[in-house]
Subunit: 710 residues, 2 copies
């Protein structure tokens, strides 16, 4: 930490007025930084000589702070800057993720750190740019100094000036939900589509602008550049949205406020998250980029031996569909946990998390090589858990009477699997933090090593939002506390990820988008999973919970919704939707009808030494080949939208001279996501390097291939 007299010595340094340029290692991306006539920090970015970001201003508005000395009551970090110094450097290293798409990751960039001096306030900030071959990252850094000690952010005003009316795959900017259907429009069409794009039925909705969108925002320019704006390492800072000026096609950052409307309370030394702009003329580069992971700090956990990729099934889908319930009794309009004798209440008979059913799931997992069994609805409080703004909603330690915590865990362990804990917080984060240590101790006592958390509904403390600075701090607090207990975290309805899983690899998954559950709430569009890897997955893996084989829910329930993909499309997701945590979400009795296809879910890995994106176009198709961790086996998956796709898979990545037992799971000739989703063909053959697989994906379909080295 720097001394308070740090600045005194700087006052006597000469002030420079440089403009700086830094190029990516391969020279294709060029970043220019300067300060304009009004002293506004300004940057622009090109790729292969084509403009990606036109000149755009950087800075922050600060709020009045009633506690600050009067001198700083009205102030900003927007203008009046001089460049005091510029430092350029190069960095090149490789690192090994605890889990991931590849065994090693190269972190190679050229850096420009612009030290900016604001004479009016006698303050200094640093804007640091890192320029990679696949994009740029930059952030604000606030050194500790007498004149910038504590400050409050009214708004961050980072501009991203687009150079045309790009096509965008966007979600409405919202302080509380990311569970909307992605819209594909020109930038100029966002305003007109906005209202219809909002998921007004979500348990918590807070939109702020008719041209406000979320990140990661994937775009494509009319001349074929793929551009993606997101952020990295959002730590104790509000999640960023983008507000579009649809006259100038300029995005400006818009942070999520707290209950008072403020956007951030900062103490120097501190930094903003990295703001990222990825660019390529090849869509596959958007998917293989590690830019966001690279901009995060290295792993902070000393011991990661307890973290493991996981395939799991669970008592979940039948409740989502409405066939059974999380809650145990209908006796009360509401419950108070400390006033109910759960042994005495009358069960309604539809409680899913019961001993008999959980044992069946344990058996299914054990019989099929799945590692864990998620059980939702095991703990008391589900009678009135949702949308009541109820503080003391769960205690996270008391099971319903028909869930024998000890016996079920014992049975699971005896069968070689673990139960996967579930903590729905109902967004009552104060209550969750009060019970967290006891809840984690209980997990340690019974042998759980992973928890799925949930944040449905409006936040308590009331007035706060899911993606605010304080909530982002909360999510991280839970991950850190869980790490102390050697517990992996899979966080649903939490803020969208920004690569923090590099630093805290026990954050093995998350939701933060429309997952498979929406197939039971009206359905996801067939192209949904061909967009998510370009958007939601940029920041980290998603617990999408794939594996629905029986897509017509009315076949086995009163739910008239249906999943908009073929059975082979379901298999493909285990590859195209990268995650170290993969669920087999459908019911065991449904898999029993398709055991030949289910074999792929049994076989497929969920941790990888290598990944090759073979084909990709946002919203249309994705084809990827991955090499299973610690083996010579490869798996290939392809997923497409409602148009179908003819994939060409060149097996160039196989070891030369080696033979592979190849099993192909592909859509039947007459397969169609709506009319014939369960039509599939399984083919086995032996292949070698250089062979080509030509595979036709049905509308809403896909394929999966396993390649076992002989």
């Amino acid at each position: 930490m720097k001394r308070r007299f740090y600045l005194a010595s700087l006052l006597f340094l000469p002030l420079l007025a440089l403009a700086g340029t830094v190029k990516s290692p391969n020279g294709q991306i060029v970043l220019d930084f300067s300060v304009d006539g009004q002293g506004r920090p300004t940057y622009e970015m090109t790729y292969k000589g084509r403009a990606v970001v036109a000149p755009s201003h950087l800075g922050l508005e600060l709020a009045r702070d009633k506690h600050a000395s009067k001198k700083f009551e009205e102030t900003d970090l927007l203008a009046g800057f001089q460049i005091k110094d510029e430092q350029q450097s190069t960095f090149d290293e490789t690192w090994e993720p605890v889990w991931g798409e590849t065994k090693i990751i190269r972190n190679h960039y050229n850096e420009l750190a612009a030290v900016l001096w604001q004479p009016r306030e006698a303050r200094e900030i640093v804007i640091r740019f890192r320029v990679y071959d696949d994009g740029i990252g930059f952030r604000y850094e606030f050194p500790q100094q007498q004149n910038l000690n504590y400050f409050i952010i009214k708004e961050e005003k980072t501009q991203f000036a687009m150079t045309g009316d790009h096509t965008a795959w966007w979600l409405p900017g919202d302080y509380d939900t990311q569970e909307q259907k992605t819209q594909e429009t020109r930038l100029s069409e966002i305003r007109g589509r906005f209202h219809d794009a909002v998921n007004w039925d979500n348990s918590s909705v807070a939109v702020f602008s008719e041209t406000g969108v979320q990140t990661a925002l994937q775009m494509k320019s009319q001349d074929g550049l793929y551009i993606n704006i997101h952020e990295a390492a959002c730590l104790d800072y509000a999640t960023m949205h983008l507000d579009l000026n649809d006259t100038t096609m300029t995005f400006t950052s818009h942070l999520t406020p707290d209950a008072t409307g403020l956007k951030g309370c900062m103490q120097t030394p501190c930094t903003s998250p990295w703001r990222t702009v990825m660019v390529s003329d090849d869509a596959r580069d958007m998917l293989s980029s590690n830019l966001i992971l690279n901009l995060n700090e290295p792993c902070k956990l000393d011991d990661t031996s307890w973290i493991h990729p996981t395939k799991y099934c669970g008592v979940w889908w039948e409740m989502i569909v409405g066939k059974s319930n999380w809650h145990y009794t209908d006796d009360y309009p509401s419950v108070k946990l400390d006033q109910i004798d759960w042994q005495q209440v009358k069960p309604h008979g539809r409680h899913a998390a019961n001993n008999e059913k959980v044992r069946r799931y344990i058996d299914f997992a054990a019989d099929n090589g799945l590692n864990e069994v998620l059980v939702e609805g095991w703990n008391v409080g589900w009678e009135d858990w949702a949308n009541m703004w109820k503080r003391d909603v769960f205690d996270f330690v008391t099971p319903y009477p028909d869930f024998d915590l000890k016996a079920l865990n014992d049975y699971a362990h005896q069968r070689g699997v673990k139960l996967l804990m579930h903590h729905e917080t109902s967004s009552s984060t104060q209550n969750y933090e009060r019970h967290l240590e006891d809840a984690l101790n209980l997990m340690n006592r019974y042998g759980y090593d992973a928890v799925k958390t949930g944040y449905v509904g409006d936040i308590i403390p009331r007035g706060d939002h899911h993606f605010s600075q304080s909530m982002n701090n909360h999510y991280l607090y839970v991950v850190q506390q869980a790490a102390r207990h050697h517990v992996m975290v899979n966080s649903h309805e939490a803020t969208r990820p920004t690569g923090l899983c590099r630093t805290y690899p026990n954050l093995v998954g998350g939701e933060s988008a429309r997952g498979t559950e929406y197939e039971a709430f009206g359905g996801n569009n067939p192209d949904h999973t061909c967009i998510l890897p370009f958007t939601r997955l940029q920041g980290g893996p998603m617990d999408y919970t794939p594996g629905i084989f029986v897509t017509r829910l009315s076949e086995w329930s009163d739910n008239t919704s249906w999943a908009r993909l073929t059975l082979c499309g379901s298999l493909a997701l285990y590859l195209t939707m990268y995650s170290p945590l993969q669920m087999a979400a459908d019911l065991p009795e449904h898999y029993a009808r398709f055991m030949d296809a289910f074999q792929f879910i049994k076989d497929v890995a969920c941790d990888w030494d290598d990944s090759r994106y073979l084909e990709a176009e946002p919203g249309d198709y994705i084809t990827v080949a991955r090499k299973a961790k610690g083996t010579d086996n490869w798996f290939v998956g392809g997923k497409c939208d409602e148009q179908g796709h003819k994939a060409v898979v060149r097996l160039d990545f196989l070891d030369k001279g080696r033979k592979y037992d190849c099993t192909i799971y592909q859509d039947g000739k007459d397969a169609h996501y709506e009319t014939n989703p369960q039509s599939y063909v399984i083919t086995k053959k032996v292949v070698k390097q250089g062979d080509v697989l030509r595979l036709t994906e049905a509308p809403g379909g896909g394929f999966a291939v396993s390649l076992m080295a002989r």
Copy 2:
């Protein structure tokens, strides 16, 4: 808990349209309840036939709840009621407080429970009145029912219609502070005085109305009735203020909002706190009343053996005065606890909580029969603790390098005293709750059994207020968690008490008003302590921290403030300001100069078998005699305002035929709080029942008497 079909059976009961009357046991107070033509619940109250509360309406406005079924979006509990049933009953019991002013307390009242039916919404509420000889209490009760399950309070609209332009001793209504100077004006003069009455310099100020005042509000009618409005048992509900219509002289309740502006989130079955109106034509009855304790629930702690009244000194006053500091270093403009190596920082040399000084205080306590030694500033984080809205401000477990936690506790225990823990939260309640269990475990480990908590500054979660429902829940949560660890709590800057110490007797004290510290911040008015027992102390004891002997702070510091009372006035406070927790707040070296007077502080008890208020007039004087717990010894104290007072103490309360060694500590003839505060005379004699002591209290003075049974 009632079944959800509870209401169905009630629909067929006949609806009554009664008005009810209930009298106090002695018949002097009469409470009338009725429903007016618009179905508004209405009450009025008389005392000895004189109107105390004119007809006043009762009810609540409910907020729109976006999550409630549409049917109840706009609704209220204000009008359209029918009286469905009225139940009258009588209650008479005595109970023993764990600590208190008397050994036993009688709880004797007549009750009227009006069951009210609102046909429009098919909802039922109960308004329950308890009528005592010294006042009334009433509350709203909300049974569990389908049509009133969860609800949000927009505002409670309880009226208290005064019958004249009474004199009132009031504080400005404020959501965050109670540390103002009390104003004495007519009700009609509140508006004109309001702005000047606000303590704008407080670390957190949130006023809401120019006629808004706090409770307990003490009034006196022009014909000599003493009337006091407050509340009892404020549990998980926002603290009430009173907003005056100064045309009609009607107060309406005004609750403290949360960050969203809402006043309460309720789940049936539940109740409001009790609203209390005390009345008498003898001011002494205001002080001896146990109405507020009686309206609280009995003790909920199974074991109270670890709770003990306590006299203490502490490393505190010299920091308040500015002679030394809580913080340890000036090296940093701000600190981050996880980034500082405290062993390496440079101490500024004014850190009070150091080993040498604390040992001296331990010796002083041990030598003088004090039980504990408070040490503030022992833990890291004080460098930038206040008014920064800093979340991670303290960890409550890490001492500064010059405070040897183990050695000092060991030394204290060896000398027969304990250290008293200090947890300043800086109002970062989320941070405090995160560390609370560790902090209490540390206390257990080192042998602390009491903690002084503090809530200086604006609340985190940001936007919340000190007296909101959620903060009241927080304070109680801390008390409950402390009880699990056998820790007593003394909470500063927390919400004003409402008698919860009956239910949780480990809540041994609090501040919630302008305490002795303000003698170093410009001074308290001489009449301040002649008002507090009528107002702040109604809800529970105050840690006023009396005992300042050297009132001119400039004698030993650069502080030009001075305490506005005589040395004998200081002694009197140990009796007139009832508390089971009493501090000897001045420095040991100051007491050393007046050891003959300090003898009284050594002798005086702080727990009592009996208390007799002998003389009282709000803002003028209070004289009280108390019998020390488990002994035959009495202590008498008298305190007056700047006018002086001639007290007449009739020793009628002594045992007949017994002799008592009487020591009188009284102001010298020339004593005066400003010009000659340290003038006092100590007289010893032997007295018996029936003797009369005539004692002259100087301006701003007082007296203290010990009566030791032979």
